[in-house]
Amino acid sequence: MQSALNPGGPQAELIARESGWLLGMGASVFAVTMAALAYAALHRRRAADPQSANPSIARWVAAALALTIAVLLTNVVVDMRTGRALADLPDRARPDALTIEVTGHQWWWEIEYEHADPSRRLTTANELHIPVGRPVKIELRSADVIHSFWVPGLHGKRDLIPGYSRPLWIQADHAGVFRGQCAEFCGDQHANMALLVIATAPADFARWYAAQLLPARAPADAAARVGQRVFLANACVLCHTIRGTPAGGRVAPDLTHLASRRSLAAGTLPNTPPHRRAWVLDPQGIKPGVRMPAMILPARDAEALFAYLDGLQ
């Protein structure tokens, strides 16, 4: 799920192949050196042997040295070749390449799909949907401190550094869920800053995209209508956006289709109604240090709010 050992795309595949070579190299050199060490320590010595009377030892050392140089040079060559292959990999000529801007925040991921038509740009959080087989260019930025974007199943990591932006190309070769996690220490909740990359067939991706572009559903019943009012009348609105309502805060995840996502608080909890309740009422207990304050609401308002959030499909 979050392993460099199960590559799910061409980039990770290349790296995994290089890793295989390196592990093999390391294991063999280790085995040979340890055998030499064991022999050196344990071989039988004739009592009459004068000290250091072994002229052939210098030749052995020279041979080991030559072998080391050969192995190291091979390593450099393998590394350069893999590096070049990685650099050449994104097929930039493909017109259907997708560009996604990922911005790191303490401690969540803002995700924005680029589109020539501004009305078809899409903002979401912590869940990156990509179509299988299409190259994806990820533009990485940071809103605060340094984070690192790392989805081991798809590629190595790339830092998000304030003041810098460098793209990373990924591609998924089969449908599946690839978990990723921030890999640069970024403060209190570095451990709970995960994201999911969900690779789906192009048609499924298109359906998902269209659904996400829609504004939030109107509240379905009286309770949800009350819930929406609770949301808009409380601090929630200062940080979160729900498209189709006046809520337009940009410092926290977009909640327009909250209930359609798989996890909550950047991979901290599964996104189920009971977990959503626990989260809203006590975020600091679940993810200490998180920027979201606990919402102190009368029980009836809280229930209404949850009904509304549950409907944000």
């Binding site: 390196l22 390391g26 050392v61 590394d79 401190v145 340094i146 550094i161 996690q181 220490f185």
Partner: protein, 641 residues
């Protein structure tokens, strides 16, 4: 008077009388103040070593707590705040308060003894170094126990370490601790460089310097360049926080990557600053336990020099994930791969030494053999992470945690234990228990591998570093539990070591002058060495002076016994050059260190700390440098017989 006269018949009484007079001359004053005022390199080095080991224990306790927290997924033992402080304290302590200081401390103890002189070059400066280091370390741990431990990692990346994201005083405390300890490190480096270049025994030409001394010399030069860089960086960070300079703040035109360049320009050589003295220890311990001089002396010296130079050419491999362009980074990859070569050469020379020697399997040799196993493994994973694409996967994961613990614990702490078992009799006059030593070794070796080997796999399974918890679904629980169990075994091994050291101090077997029949000069004086180290001062005619018969060794005669006098020799071929009278004990280095402490601790809170501190520094510096008055000329000049 010729040497043979001194050693024969009635000369013995004269020698004994001279030694009594030298003891009086070189001893410190009594009492607590006298103890604080000591400028003897051995006393200061012993304090350094004990202090560094105490910080090692504290840093280790921190590591153990982190292992307990990570033993199970979603564990609640430590919250993120405490956990982040823990790993920051662990890294900062191990790197700045343990590893570098203890290597330098052992150098400060043994370099003068191994080159055959009576003290380090600037004895008072040496005392200042220790007191500064102690105050810095106490400040850091005091702050931690007062609930204000730094929590941005031992690397304190900007902008996380800037006031906007880390308000409060925690990062200031970290930055000032770094500056404190780097002052101490720089002082020790200067001591060692001048001692090695100017105070060697006559006849100890460059190609006869013991390998441990060579390694300390190269290390000291590396310290000069690396530590001054990080001290500059930590002061810049403190200024950003204290007076709003904008060195590392991207929002106002500063640069977040500048910090990383400055930090790793220090940070990578740092690894070799810790590792090179350890190689010196290995090359010193091996001859005594293989009964032959180390194989390939000249190659080993060149390996040290090459490592020293190359280590400054690969800092960027800590920053490959920042997206440095491919062409630029391939230079650093090549340098990182190439540095494996001098390390490989050293390993081959040591194996050749064992191969052609007659191993005596005592505890020090066990630790050297353990070192070879662990260091080769850690070195190979190092060659692996030098490859950029692979590094992009394992960078900042537990794979790297495993890698550098193999090179730092396997590559430096194991040789350190070998050196402690080897040199303990010289320092204390008592042997450590061999029985406990073997238990100590095997528990450490097993515990270490149990703890750190699984981390390679955890890293490949995607576990990042510096996380205080992880989800059960990620399936990292079992390997983490294993690692925690290993850490407990490791801790037991360390506890046995402490027990051995403490018990042997009072009841260990009495050590002869040269209990291992080793070959370097420190073994040709008493255990423990007298305050004046040697009398008569030795000359040297080969690489293994203690393996020559004493009557064959040349001696230095003609140094005063009633006043402190040291022989200064020429830098390259160590010919007697002049006589130097080093200053005696004084309390002022301690008072100076206090003023330095006020400067740094005060400036955590206000820029005025600097002003007040500078004013406070003035009186002790004047008193320190107050002219001593000219002693009457003795009229004799030293000569080597």
């Amino acid at each position: 008077m010729s040497t043979t006269d001194v050693l024969r018949g009635p000369g013995e009484d004269a020698l004994a009388a001279e030694r009594r007079e030298l003891t009086a001359t070189w001893s410190g004053r009594g009492g607590f103040v006298g103890w604080m005022a000591s400028v003897d390199h051995k006393s200061i080095a012993k304090r350094y070593i004990v202090t560094a080991l105490a910080f090692f224990a504290l840093g280790g306790a921190g590591a153990l707590t982190m292992r307990l927290q990570l033993a199970r997924p979603d564990n609640g033992l430590l919250g993120p705040d405490l956990y982040n402080q823990m790993f920051t304290m662990h890294g900062t302590t191990m790197m700045f308060l343990f590893a570098v200081p203890i290597m330098e401390a052992i150098g400060l103890y043994f370099v003068p003894l191994m080159v055959g002189t009576r003290n380090v070059a600037y004895p008072r400066l040496n005392a200042l170094g220790y007191w500064t280091y102690l105050i810095g370390g106490l400040f850091l741990w005091g702050s931690f126990f007062a609930g204000s431990g730094p929590d941005t990692g031992w690397f304190s990346y900007a902008p996380l370490s800037e006031t906007l994201f880390s308000p409060g005083k925690r990062v200031d405390i970290w930055a000032q601790t770094v500056t404190f300890t780097e002052i101490a490190a720089l002082i020790a480096a200067v001591e060692i460089i001048v001692t090695v270049f100017k105070l060697r025994a006559p006849g100890m030409t460059l190609n006869r310097i013991p390998l441990f001394v060579w390694s300390m010399l190269v290390t000291a030069f590396m310290v000069l360049f690396a530590m001054s860089t990080v001290a500059t960086a930590s002061v810049m960070l403190a200024l950003d926080r204290l007076v709003d300079t904008h060195f590392f703040r991207p929002a106002t035109g500063g640069d977040a990557l500048l910090w990383q360049h400055l930090f790793w320009f220090f940070g990578h050589p740092e690894v070799y600053i810790i590792f090179l003295p350890a190689t010196g220890m290995v090359s010193t311990v091996l001859p005594a336990f293989t009964r032959r001089p180390v194989f390939g002396y000249t190659i080993l010296v060149f390996a040290l020099l090459i490592t020293g130079f190359l280590s400054f050419a690969l800092w960027v491999h800590h920053m490959l994930a920042t997206g440095i362009p491919h062409h630029g980074s391939s230079f650093y990859t090549t340098a990182s791969v190439m540095i494996a070569l001098p390390s490989g050469i050293q390993v081959f020379c040591w194996i050749a030494t064992i191969w052609t020697g007659r191993p005596v399997f005592r505890t020090p040799l066990l630790f050297v053999l353990g070192f070879l196993v662990l260091f080769v493994l850690g070195g190979l994973t190092g060659v692996m992470v030098a490859a950029i694409p692979f590094d992009l996967q394992v960078h900042d994961t537990y794979f790297v945690v495993a890698h550098f613990h193999y090179v730092l614990i396997g590559g430096a702490v194991f040789p350190l234990f070998a050196a402690i078992y080897y040199w303990y009799p010289k320092v204390t006059g008592r042997m450590l228990s061999e029985r406990l030593g073997r238990w100590n070794f095997w528990l450490l070796f097993a515990g270490f591998n149990l703890t750190f080997f699984p981390m390679h796999i955890l890293g490949l399974m995607g576990m990042p570093r510096r996380v205080y918890t992880y989800r059960e679904a990620l399936e990292w629980g079992d390997l983490n539990l294993l690692a925690t169990a290993g850490a407990l075994v490791l801790a037991l091994g360390v506890a046995l070591f402490v027990l051995n050291v403490v018990m042997s101090l009072g009841s260990g077997e009495r050590a002869a002058d040269n209990p291992w029949d080793a070959d370097t000069l420190e073994w040709s004086t008493a255990s423990p060495p007298p305050p004046y180290n040697f009398h008569p001062l030795p000359g040297v005619d080969g690489r293994s002076p203690a393996w020559s018969r004493p009557e064959e060794l040349p001696r230095v005669t003609g140094l005063a016994t009633g006043s402190r006098e040291m022989l200064v020799t020429t830098a390259l071929d160590a010919r007697p050059d002049s006589c130097n009278e080093p200053p005696g004990p004084t309390i002022w280095p301690f008072v100076t260190a206090l003023a330095v402490g006020v400067t740094f601790i005060g400036s955590v809170f206000t820029p005025w700390g600097f002003v007040v501190g500078m004013l406070l520094l003035l009186p002790p510096l004047v008193a320190w440098g107050w002219p001593r008055g000219k002693r009457e000329e003795t009229g004799t000049s030293p000569e080597a017989a």
